[in-house]
Amino acid sequence: MPFFYSVKQLRRLILLLILLAGWEFASRYILDKTQATLLPPPSGVLNGAIELSFSGELWKHIRDSLAREFIAFCYASVAIPLGIVMGCFKWVNEQVDPIIEILRPIPPIAWIPLSILWFGVGNTQNQFIIFLGIFFPILLNTIDAVKNIEPNLIRAARCLGARGWNVITRVVLRAALPQIVTGIRIGLGVGWMALVAAELVGANSGLGFLINDARTVLRTDYILDGMLAIGLIGLTLDRLIRYAARKFMPWSRALNA
């Protein structure tokens, strides 16, 4: 069974392999030298990746980018208590909501010029941009989750003797958790995109810096390697959260159904 399954999975890669082969062929035999420099063949990209990983440079940039994403996420997680308070108390929502509605449509990238003036080029500025990317998806999903809690769950808790703080920690937070995790997933994705943009213009390290720096020395293979790393890490982050959610909240699909 597992054998057939993996064969089936491999079949899905046929088109990808054909395209890669076509690319390799075009780059080697059709494009002239200048063009081939701009689009190196997959084998060249692979060689670049091997160079970058053996020199340790790739890992350093990945580590710096991930550290920024992680620190920004820690700050952005204040969106969870804020969202719960906004979902539970109408008057807080009334006051905070207009501010959020104005700030939310501004893309994190639009904050880059101002943030460079505020924080200079470096970690703080990068983290600020990522923070903006992560914060709003978590906040909006948390508010929505709290508002959509089945009212009978709250009633059930109250007629079993729970009140105030107990209702929030034992029912509201738990019932909202699956959608909060969805918010975190979306937020980390948006944050990861914002991170690369922030590093393109205002960093001395990180994957965004790597691909921009490679541009100045015309190392297109490094550019492609950096782009691939950005994509693969984004995908991995998303899968890890999904995996963790399924593992630690086996009931969550039942709740959302």
């Binding site: 009633r155 059930a156 729970a162 034992r170 159904a257």
Partner: protein, 258 residues
């Protein structure tokens, strides 16, 4: 002393906007439930019977009148009036064990007692072997058993049941009614049940309170001759059923009452 006393209770829902009309859901409802008595509130949907139950539970405040539970005025929800909901309202993130334990752990009962009590009530509703399951792994009937165990575990003065078997199919409903009779034989409880099923109310109750249509009033209080030993199609059963049907058919639209 009666377990539950409802005096001259009225509930008016104000108009939602200036075009709408205020709705009087309940009008001067008074009733008394004695200790260990099973009382059914029977009526059409829209007769305010669920409103009455919500007021007793403390989820809503009455417009006029007063509710007393064991001599204490009802002002907010509390574990002395735990409820079994039609949609079960189990906490999906908790196992059967932790659902049943919820009220006890809020009370601050020590864990050894909780464990003992949870196992007792899980056994009472016949779910001992599913104690570590999550609600989504259980069938509708089993979920309602958990809900009953959870509500009984806090040892309420009055157990409130809001159409608890309405979401189940006919066979499960009949079985759950039998289960309820068995459970109450083992664990005597004061119960207020809201239902639109005449048969259910006859099968389970000591007293049936028939409500009028909007605004809800008490139309008639019927004492069941042999509570929880009524056998279908016997003359006394048919007599009670006929009496209730006539009371209800006065409330014109018969379609919703089975």
């Amino acid at each position: 002393m009666s377990a539950l006393k409802v005096e001259h209770l009225s509930k008016i829902y104000p108009a939602l906007n200036n075009k709408g009309q205020a709705v009087q859901a309940l009008d001067d409802v008074s009733l008394e439930v004695n200790k260990n008595e099973f009382v059914s509130i029977l009526g059409h949907s829209g007769c305010g019977k669920t409103t009455l139950l919500n007021l007793i539970a403390g989820f809503e405040a009455p417009t006029a009148g007063r509710i007393e539970c064991a001599g204490k005025e009802v002002k907010e929800p509390g574990a002395d009036r735990s409820m079994v909901f039609q949609d079960y309202a189990l906490f999906p993130w908790l196992t059967v064990r932790d659902n049943i334990a919820f009220g006890l752990s809020i009370k601050g009962v020590d864990s050894a007692t909780i464990k003992k009590d949870v196992e007792h009530f899980a056994a009472l509703v016949g779910l001992s072997s599913f104690i570590e399951s999550y609600p989504h792994q259980l069938s509708g009937g089993m979920r309602q058993r958990v809900s009953i165990a959870r509500a009984l575990a806090v040892d309420p003065t009055v157990l409130l049941m809001d159409e608890p078997f309405a979401a189940l199919d006919a066979q499960n409903r009949a079985m759950m009614q039998q289960e309820m009779i068995r459970i109450l034989a083992e664990e005597s409880k004061t119960v207020v049940l809201v239902t639109h099923s005449i048969e259910e109310s006859i099968n389970l109750s000591d007293v049936i309170i028939v409500m009028t249509r909007r605004p809800g009033r008490v139309k008639k209080v019927i004492h069941v001759p042999e509570p929880r030993r009524m056998i279908e199609d016997t003359p006394s059963y048919l007599a009670v059923r006929k009496q209730i049907r006539e009371l209800i058919s006065d409330e014109h639209d018969l379609s919703e009452v089975s």
